[in-house]
Symmetry: C2
Subunit: 153 residues, 2 copies
């Protein structure tokens, strides 16, 4: 068996190409923009039949984020009136592992290029996994969220 801790090093499987060059909290804007993911051509075959899904989950590395262990709490979306929240209760890039998840619409696959809509990752982000979005597995029903999440939208 592999020692999990020694093997937990991620390899790049692709790179995000987007007009978004700097981190932003303008999520409404991000929902409409299109971006491209350039997958390592050696993994081209691994994308086969992904185009049968309307949506995918992009798992990426927030390459400009650095974890500050002295700030385990933060203001959600910079909203100070909401009060401080634990970093696991928000989507801040300041987390022990700077992994981002973004559920996006898959517009087109062209060889090793995925054209997507709604990607919440800046240009140059390192893609580490792509998963098909499967309703019932990736979605939840009877969901409740705190009131302060709505404040930040």
């Amino acid at each position: 068996m592999v020692d999990p801790l020694s093997s937990m090093t991620l390899r790049s499987i692709g790179i995000v190409r987007s007009d978004f060059k700097e981190p932003t909290s303008a999520h409404l804007e991000l929902q409409t923009i299109t971006a491209e993911i350039e997958i390592d051509p050696q993994l081209n075959e691994a994308l086969d039949e992904l185009e049968g899904f309307s949506h995918i989950i992009v798992v990426y590395w927030m390459h400009r984020a650095v974890f500050d262990k002295n700030h385990l709490k933060t203001y959600p979306m910079g909203n100070m009136s909401a009060g401080l929240k634990g970093l696991f209760a928000v989507r801040t890039p300041n987390r022990p592992n700077t992994i981002g998840l973004s559920t996006v619409k898959l517009l087109e696959r062209r060889g090793n290029i995925l054209k997507v809509q709604g990607l919440d990752a800046i240009d140059g982000s390192v893609v580490v996994d792509i998963k098909p979005y499967i309703p019932g597995y990736d979605s939840a029903s009877d969901v409740t969220i705190p009131e302060w999440v709505k404040i930040g939208e």
Copy 2:
């Protein structure tokens, strides 16, 4: 700026405690079982207000999976009649980065222990991130999936 490739090493933030000891494709069964996630006590504060969310996304490392780059295609859920699919079109553990995503119900937070329902991770899996599940951001509408996904359920 940090070189992304040199810094893409994950650290454990917690461990899964579950009655599921071996990998299974019995996803219906997994939806009902409860499991516990024991978060590093040093990160306790980072969980504050997570309990306001009914659901969370557990990002974990499939510690027993080893990537076989000679098998970029696989049968979905072991279903050979569906034909071979690229590994990014399925949720197989055989992927370049053996990251698992599981959307689960958060039943209880007790200090650094999260009691959850529906966790698709075997006992001992290394947790690398916890994110609040936010409808509209993590869920998609007008979703289509291939017919062969339904075959495998």
